[in-house]
Amino acid sequence: MHIDWGALGTVFVVSLVVVVALCGLFAVGVRGLSARVAAREAGVQGTAGLTTAVLCFAVCTAVIGYGVYLIVG
């Protein structure tokens, strides 16, 4: 019996890295969003928070776009 440990290992490592990156980015984006909401309530602009959020969500969207490309392609 032959188990393709190499392929299984690759799937595991790639999944883990991408999930950690996506979850991390998204969470940091949410942190930015939360900072902005708090800043606005305090009467400040909160641009830094918004910038972080937009950047993070943009990268997440790009990764999802790549996923759709993989599915369709």
């Binding site: 799937v11 790639v14 999930v19 950690v20 979850c23 998204f26 969470a27 942190r31 993989l70 599915i71």
Partner: protein
């Protein structure tokens, strides 16, 4: 095109299987989104149904083998396919009745193995392939996806712990909808292809289509519509289990679980180690339950799922074998199996009406114990 009775029966059984595949697997993509309230139940199944239909048209990779090399394809006759489908349909309906997520592909494989075994002997079954393509992925899928989802959940909670929870909850709901849609699309491109492959190969074996033909448009349309209709009809019993019974899911967990499922499914299908979608998503949910502090994973439910997974192959093989034996008596046998299949399906449906699970039972607010994220 001139269809013999058995070909018509196989096409009908394929579409019926496709339908059960749809309602069985809605939970994979949508259970956590529904449970956290990110999507209303009806909206969730509608999105999933549309994406499954779109997926059926998107992919050009139609399954080129019926069994993926598990059995000697030369020994597969329409009768064997029909018997295999019968086993898979019965199993899908039974596991649905008990609200257990279970892999439709493995059910189909099991049915085909049993049917081929009876029709052409044990030598026609490639047991090494069975271990490699079914048993190992069955164990690896939930473990791998579970671990990945656990790490994702831990991270998400670490980063967002001190934040305003209203913003957190809202953001993750949006993220969850996106990742769940990705799972649905990936599912549509995979699972509808399977049915198309089965129908097309049956048409080729019976001489209605030239060898090597792509599926005719009506086959693509019918398969896509059958899986979409199944998806839309909901399979609320399984959604309830996946979304609420395994663990109480909050939005960040739902996001982590869905993202892990989508990524793992895509990685597995593009890096050459096939994993089972159902087991990946179930593993993801369990992992997200382990990853959140104080979240309780109900291991009894997880254990029942594991038992169902262990039984999938032998149980479907048994039904497939019996159906294959009876069908081999000729037209009368095939008709008898068809009639029995309809009777069993009706019986299971009527049984399910005794304790119906509706869209109202699968949301957050339905359980007083479920906490709001």
């Amino acid at each position: 095109m001139d269809f013999s009775l058995i070909v018509i029966v196989v096409i009908l059984a394929s579409l019926a299987f496709d339908f059960t595949n749809g309602f069985h697997d809605t939970a994979n993509a949508m259970a956590t989104s529904i449970a956290t309230g990110a999507l209303k139940p009806r909206v969730a199944v509608s999105i999933s149904a549309v994406l499954n239909l779109v997926g059926a048209f998107l992919s050009i990779q139609v399954a080129k083998t019926i069994s993926g090399g598990l059995v000697n394809e030369a020994k597969i006759t329409p009768v064997v396919i029909f018997a295999g489908l019968a086993g898979a349909i019965v199993w899908n309906l039974l596991t649905w009745l008990f609200g257990l997520p279970s892999s439709s592909s493995h059910a189909l494989f099991g049915g085909l193995i049993g049917a081929t075994w009876i029709a052409a002997g044990a030598s026609a079954v490639n047991f090494t392939q069975v271990v490699q393509k079914v048993l190992i992925p069955a164990v690896a899928s939930p473990l791998l996806a579970g671990f990945v989802a656990m790490i994702g959940t831990v991270m998400v909670y670490k980063i967002t712990a001190a934040l305003r929870q209203d913003v957190v909850s809202k953001s993750f709901k949006t993220g969850q909808v996106l990742s769940a849609s990705l799972v649905s699309l990936a599912h549509g491109t995979n699972d509808a292809q399977k049915t198309m492959g089965v129908i097309t190969l049956t048409l080729i074996t019976s001489g209605s289509l030239a060898p090597g033909s792509s599926p005719p448009l009506w086959v693509i349309l019918a398969s896509g519509l059958a899986i979409a209709a199944g998806t839309y009809s909901g399979g609320w019993r399984i959604i309830q289990t996946a979304g609420k019974k395994i663990t109480d899911i909050r939005t960040p967990q739902g996001f982590a679980a869905e993202t892990s499922s989508a990524v793992t499914i895509l990685a597995s299908s593009h890096l050459g180690f096939a994993l089972s979608t159902t087991r990946v998503t179930s593993g993801g949910i369990i992992g997200s339950g382990i990853g959140r502090k104080l979240a309780e994973v109900r291991w009894g439910v997880a254990g029942r799922m594991a038992v169902a997974w262990l039984l999938t192959l032998p149980a479907t093989a048994l039904v497939g074998a019996v159906a294959s034996k009876v069908s081999s008596w000729g037209t009368a046998g095939t008709t008898l199996v068809g009639v029995l299949l309809v009777v069993v399906a009706l019986g299971i449906y009527l049984w399910s009406r005794r304790s119906p699970v509706t869209p109202d039972d699968v949301t957050e607010s339905a359980a007083p114990a479920a906490a709001i994220a």
